[in-house]
Amino acid sequence: MFPFESGHVRLGRRYFPSSPSRSAEAGRAAILNVSLVPLSAAKRDDSRVVLVSPRLRMPAPIRLRELIRTIRTARTQAEEREMIQKECAAIRSSFREEDNTYRCRNVAKLLYMHMLGYPAHFGQLECLKLIASQKFTDKRIGYLGAMLLLDERQDVHLLMTNCIKNDLNHSTQYVQGLALCTLGCMGSSEMCRDLAGEVEKLLKTSNSYLRKKAALCAVHVIRKVPELMEMFLPATKNLLSEKNHGVLHTSVVLLTEMCERSPDMLSHFRKLVPQLVRILKNLIMSGYSPEHDVSGISDPFLQVRILRLLRILGKGDDDSSEAMNDILAQVATNTETSKNVGNAILYETVLTIMDIKSESGLRVLAINILGRFLLNNDKNIRYVALTSLLKTVQTDHNAVQRHRSTIVDCLKDLDVSIKRSATQSVSGENICEFVLCIYSHQ
């Protein structure tokens, strides 16, 4: 069950234990007593053999939780700033000590402070060291730090390229996943150029976890270096024959990106329309499949994505538009509208119908669906209906007129967003009619 309408997550207070955990105790004990050096001769006469001797060392850096707890006790901004500065100083000296054990912890704290708005740039190199570490825990925080703190304007980020390259070829899929994720989020053009080959290789792997990430990474690479788009063309050949919905979803995103960027790609991919129609049909007809089900509808996110791609492929092309007429009519009439997911699909269908060369019956159906949306109780639905009416009013002037009075009602709505949308729907040509309409309503 997918409780959309309830909308409420049980967010309430939870008691947080204040005593340090056992593992924290063990951690602290280890710091102070690492050396097991025998004591001096004088002490050896003592009958109690003391196994370890305390050695003067800096206290262990506190854990992230401790820091958060401490900061939350601050009562003023100034107090918080003071605590943070103190901790920053401790972290800086810990970084200087080149301590591998606590680097992970320190960077985690730094990221927290960064979120609160305090400068954290001195941790950038440390993130790189973490990425280069062999441990998964270190890599995870290191890559997160890289995504949050680094960007292509600093030269430091180029040092990551080699690490990412190694990690893209790692034996553990999760490490490969981390590398793909980071490259896909903040890879610069140089990095993308260097590593595009690796991404392309991973796009052809049979591991669906990696394949879906590689697809989105490829989108990022194409955005940064559009000339590399050709390189990914062969790999897209059998992307749509995947069973895994995650891979399908990201593949459709990749195809959409390629089609939007290049008219050649667009005409090349038009041949995929039958396959897309088939996938969409399976989603609608498949019946209940619990793993993709959202409020009784099979994978609405994927349906919306496919509809969007169909829109791009069908625009201005008679054959493709004809091939998708049936399925669009099916989706428009069969989708459940009682939940938000159904409406998202319907909305996308309407936009597609309006954009492609659909037959007139279908267009009328689409406008009527929009009209129904305008009367919906849900404000969100009314808002999206108005924004799409705005787009269609240029092409289907007459059909929109039928819903004139409803639009006028929306003008009176108290919601600012809806009012703005309704005002925009009133285009230059028919503004006189609308004004007359408003006067006649008063």
């Binding site: 007593n33 196994l51 708005g117 441990k135 995870r140 990474c217 995103v253 959202v294 999206v384």
Partner: protein, 193 residues
């Protein structure tokens, strides 16, 4: 494309901020403040969409938000994303957090910021939606957490061993054991190094 994902509480304190486009640190904080300012003014029964503020790109961008108890979840998106779809995505995100943290509350997000980032990384990548199936996301997050735990297990062993030895109460080792006629010389054990 999703430009930014922000979670902040009713007073504007950030609980998670992830930007998929580059902004300077100052800009990021300004965006958080401005977004909070815009979103907190909204009434409960209005729609969940807002035009983006001046800082986050103007008219092409929208703020899509949902308010759960003490937290606002705000996604800043451009026109290539379906507004209703993003609303559903926010719901999936919150439900995933709920499953991962068991009755999630604001304190969970406060103390486990890195875990929330990890979960989000399995859902949205580079500003694009990666995975929307809740069970799939949770499986992957759990597997990675297991990997971390097993590493901590191996790495934590020496520390635990040292403290165990330290706490052990070893009796004095006698040098000579004399039981009547038999005299056993206990060899000199090498000192602990």
């Amino acid at each position: 494309m999703i430009k930014a994902i922000l979670i902040f509480n009713n007073h504007g304190k950030p609980r998670l901020s992830k930007f998929y486009e580059h902004y300077t640190e100052d800009m990021e904080q300004q965006i958080i403040r401005e977004t909070f300012h815009l979103v907190s003014k909204r009434d409960e029964n209005v729609c969940n969409f807002l035009e983006g503020g001046l800082l986050i790109g103007g008219s092409d961008n929208k703020l899509i938000y949902r308010h759960y108890a003490t937290l606002y979840f705000v996604f800043c998106v451009d026109s290539s994303e379906s507004e209703l779809g993003i609303l559903d995505l926010i719901q999936v995100f919150v439900e995933t957090l709920d499953k991962c943290f068991e009755n999630v509350c604001e304190l969970d997000l406060i103390f486990h910021m890195d875990k929330v980032h990890n979960i989000l990384a399995e859902m949205v990548m580079g500003g694009m939606v990666l995975e929307t199936n809740m069970n799939e996301i949770i499986t992957q997050v759990d597997a990675q957490n297991k990997m971390e735990k097993s590493e901590a297990g191996i790495a934590g062993a020496p520390a635990r061993a040292v403290s165990a030895v330290k706490n052990m109460n070893l009796p004095e080792i006698p040098r000579n054991i004399n039981i009547g006629d038999i005299s056993i010389k206990v060899p000199n054990l090498p000192s602990f190094k």
